[in-house]
Amino acid sequence: MKALCWQGKNKVEVERVNDPAILNPRDGIVRITRTAICGSDLHLYDGYIPTMEPGDVLGHEFMGEVVDTGGEVKRVKKGDRVVVPFTIACGQCHFCKHDQWSACDNTNPNAWMMEKMYGYSGSGLFGYSHMMGGYAGGQAQFVRVPFIDVGALTIPEGLEDDKVLFLSDIFPTGYMAAENCDIKPGDVVAIWGCGPVGQFVIRSAFLLGAERVIAIDRFPERLKMARAGGAEIINYEEVEDLIEELKWMTAGRGPDSCIDAVGLEAHGTGVAAAYDYAKERLKLSFDRPTVLRQVIQACKKGGVVSIPGVYGGVLDKIPFGAAFGKGLTFKMGQTQMHRYTERLLKHVQQGEIDPSFVITHRFSLDEAPMAYRMFRDKLAGCIKVVLDPWAGPMAA
């Protein structure tokens, strides 16, 4: 089959690889009909995530048709149309039973690596470095899905792929980020980063009853999409002081909750951003926590800081005094995918949201290397790329 493989920093290639096989009794094989490039794939593309190796198959947002199942698979049947969450969960450990699916004990074959770096290991992820399990991802024509009964969300007839594909990651991720804010009537939610996850945060915050959402970015097309979702917008390059601007917009209270949907590759302006950039170029740090500092500074007293953006290592110059002084609550982590997929599918079925609004570009898998570059450099108004693994000249 064709698969998109990581080959190093800024280098991904479509290669011919073996078709996946059932390796464990609870595995299933899915023929992928739609897959997407996620913002977090760009962290791999830009070489920020350790333990990626040449030849690793990328991709963790995908859906398709079940074509084979292992001997212990009971719920999912051949021919089912499924969306697969990007976190892999066993469904039977203490964490899965307590709705903390992304902390699953039993799905990371390389748990020891993460234990060395983070103390404990989270669940395995598709196509996201050896540390996170080393599972082959879904920017390919087929994928092996471990514990398919636990994760795969069966899609009823009549919903096209584009409407449900993002239940595999960015919609639940945006929704959890908003839910973590514990939104109450009258709340103002500020969101840094209007990429695909940010767009879903905006819409989820309104679904959860936010009064106002303030969206912060610098790209006009992203701000335009945010405004279309009902948010007030700030182009941070055009305001003198972002924190003061937010204070002004909330009449001195500050946003009730602040969401960092940017993560480790923040850009920002000013001295702090330059400092982060220099430090990262000198390989003294993986992360550029510019946005994290801003959300802590901007958040109201007793407010919530919610972090769906990915961080990897040890962060520098975090204003923890401000966080303590204001009594902030921090919520973060890999999305508890399995907690949200059913619930959000209902929102889609009832027509309360059509997640396909975020798609700006469609390509074949063969064009994925170009699409990565386009998405990373935000060329041609690119916000979200969807790939068809069976289109194009190389189709098998």
Binding site: Q7, V17, C90, H94
Partner: protein, 253 residues
């Protein structure tokens, strides 16, 4: 409650060596100093030099014997498994249950007390060991000791009900005497042969088998061109060909 792990009474002189192995730092220092002093001595080409060379030579000799001196280590590892102590005890007590299912280390029971521990797949390293259960109380603990010369080990596996609905705390405390020194141990650890990590992975796999019926794996999945760097790192990720996959059974089958 006394748990016997000591075989000294039974085997007399076969007690572990009391002499502690030196640290890597000490050994390296001894070596470096020995080498420097010897070279200095040899370069002087006089009687003083001969004395220096002699002293340096002794340090070098000490360094070599440090490397060769058996390393004595101890470790403890614990996991929480979502089953009752009785279930976990029965599962662990019957190596036939998990012996063939574990990926690494692989255990094979011979006749009587003989057990073969295999590391690194079919072509890997084999340790043959004779194991004796020295003390036991069902669903509470099992103590064992090896009776062979090459790799001495002994320890105790304990089973304890965890708080709330968390299942069973299974812990292994053990000590071992490896046939080479601490530098050899560090090298072995680099390629995944650290006894503590091996026991940890063994327990993790028992937990995974008991809770989910399978051990998560990526062995045999599709992979693109690894290139030079990726190929070199295969050892680190324990990547092996699909042929070495073993069929798995559900816990309790």
């Amino acid at each position: 409650m006394t748990i016997t792990t000591d075989l000294a009474q039974k085997y007399g002189k076969r007690q572990f060596s009391r002499r502690h192995a030196t640290s890597n730092f000490e050994t390296t220092l001894t070596f470096a100093a020995g080498a420097a002093i010897s070279i200095y001595g040899l370069l002087r080409r006089d009687w003083f030099g001969a004395a220096f060379a002699g002293g340096g030579g002794y340090l070098l000799y000490r360094g070599v014997s440090d490397i060769r001196r058996p390393y004595q280590g101890k470790a403890r590892v614990a996991f929480t498994i979502g089953k009752t102590p009785q279930e976990v005890y029965e599962y662990v007590r019957n190596p036939g249950n998990w012996g063939h299912s574990l990926r690494e280390p692989a255990f094979e029971l011979g006749d009587g007390r003989n057990v073969t521990i295999r590391l690194g797949g079919e072509d890997g390293v084999e340790f043959k060991s004779q194991i004796q259960i020295t003390d036991e109380r069902p669903a509470e603990y099992v103590a064992w000791a090896s009776t062979d010369q090459f790799l001495e080990h002994r320890g105790v596996v304990r089973f304890k009900k965890a708080a709330g609905d968390r299942g069973t705390e299974i812990s292994v405390a053990f000590e071992y005497k490896a046939p080479a020194g601490s530098i050899a141990r560090s090298l072995a650890a680099l390629v995944g042969l650290d006894p503590e990590q091996l026991v940890r992975e063994g327990l993790r796999q028992i937990k995974q088998l008991m809770e989910t019926g399978e051990i998560p794996t990526t062995t045999g999945q599709p992979v693109g061109a690894r290139g030079l760097r990726g190929t070199a790192k295969r050892v680190l990720y324990h990547e092996r060909p699909a042929a070495e996959m073993q069929p798995q059974r559900l816990a309790g089958d």
